[in-house]
Amino acid sequence: MNYEIVELSQLSGNYTTIYSIIVNGETQSLFENFIEENKNKHRDELISILDRLKVIADETGAREGFFKHKEGKPGDLVCALYDEPDRNLRLYCIRNGNVAIILGGGGLKEVTAWQHDPKLSKEANAMIEVSEDIFQRLKEGDLRWSPDGKKLIGNLNFSEDEEDE
C-alpha cells in the first residue's frame, strides 16, 4: 500500500493530535472515506463520533477506556473507538498513548469478530499494516515521536517500492 500520514487539522487539539492516511495520492483520507460511506445511513452516529474525537483532542486526551483494544495483532496499538450504546459503527485507529491517534476506516459491525466481515477485515488489516510500517520506521530511525508524543516526525510517505528495496 502506498500512502501518506496527514494531520486532520479540524480535529487535532491541545491534548491529542489526530492523523489519518491518504492512500495512493487520493484527495480523501481513509477517515473521510469512512464518513462518505456512512453519511447517508448513519449521519447522527458520525456526528457523535466527530464530537467525541473533538473532546478527546481538546479536553480529555485519548483515554484508554475510550477505545476497544486488541483489535489488531499483539502489541501493535490497533484499536477501535468504543461504540455508543445500541450503535455498531466501528472505526479503526492506532493509538499512541493519550496523545496521538491515527484514524483509519471502518464500517458497520454486525459480526462478533472483524475477521468474519470482508469490509471490516480490509479496514482493520490496513491499520495493522500501517502500524507495522510505522514500527519499522521508528526502529530504523526514519520516523520518531516528538518528545511529548503528540507529533510524528520524519518520513511520513510510505511506498511499497521503498519497502522492497
Partner: protein, 154 residues
C-alpha cells in the same frame, strides 16, 4: 550517518468533516463532553487509588464489563449509580465534577538486543525472572526484540 528528517505531517482539511461538525447541536456537544469528562474523572480517581477495573468492580459489586462501559465515555450515568460510585470512592458528588487532572500518557517503543549468555545467569525484572537457558530457548539465538513502555508525565 543518517540525516535527521524533521518533517511533520501535512495539514489536511476536509469539507466533509467540516460539514458534519457544523451539524452537531450545542446540546449534543455538551452531552458528549460531559459524559467523556465524567468517565475521565472516574478513571483519574481509580488511578489515584491504584485500583484497576477488576478491583473497582469488586468493590462496587458490578461486573468488570460494566466498568468498561462506564469508562468508555459513552455512558449516561443515573444519579443512583453516581451516588454508589462516590460512596465506594469515598468522595462527594461535587468532587466527581471538580476540576479534572491533566493526564498525559505517552507510549515509547524501546528496541532491545538479546544475546546468548552462559547458562545459569538469571535475568530479573521487578515482575519476573527468567533463566538464561529459558531465554535462549525462546529466542534461539541473538535476535532483536522490542517492547513498549507506557509512562505518565507529571
Amino acid at each position: 550517518m543518517k540525516k535527521t528528517n524533521n518533517t511533520t505531517a501535512k495539514q489536511h482539511t476536509s469539507s466533509l468533516i467540516g460539514e458534519l461538525m457544523a451539524e452537531s447541536s450545542p446540546l449534543e456537544k455538551a452531552r458528549v463532553k460531559n459524559r467523556m469528562e465524567l468517565a475521565a474523572r472516574i478513571e483519574d480517581l481509580l488511578i489515584q487509588k491504584k485500583w484497576n477495573k477488576k478491583e473497582f468492580a469488586k468493590r462496587i459489586g458490578k461486573h468488570p464489563s460494566e466498568i468498561t462501559k462506564w469508562l468508555s465515555g459513552t455512558h449516561n450515568f443515573t444519579q443512583d449509580i453516581l451516588t454508589e460510585i462516590t460512596l465506594v470512592l469515598n468522595i462527594s458528588l461535587s468532587d466527581l465534577y471538580s476540576k479534572k487532572q491533566v493526564q498525559t500518557l505517552n507510549t515509547t517503543t524501546v528496541f532491545v538486543s538479546l544475546k546468548q549468555v552462559p547458562k545459569g545467569i538469571s535475568y530479573a525484572t521487578p515482575y519476573s525472572s527468567v533463566f538464561a537457558s529459558e531465554l535462549d530457548y525462546k529466542t534461539k539465538s541473538s535476535q532483536k526484540a522490542s517492547l513498549s513502555l507506557t509512562y505518565t508525565d507529571n
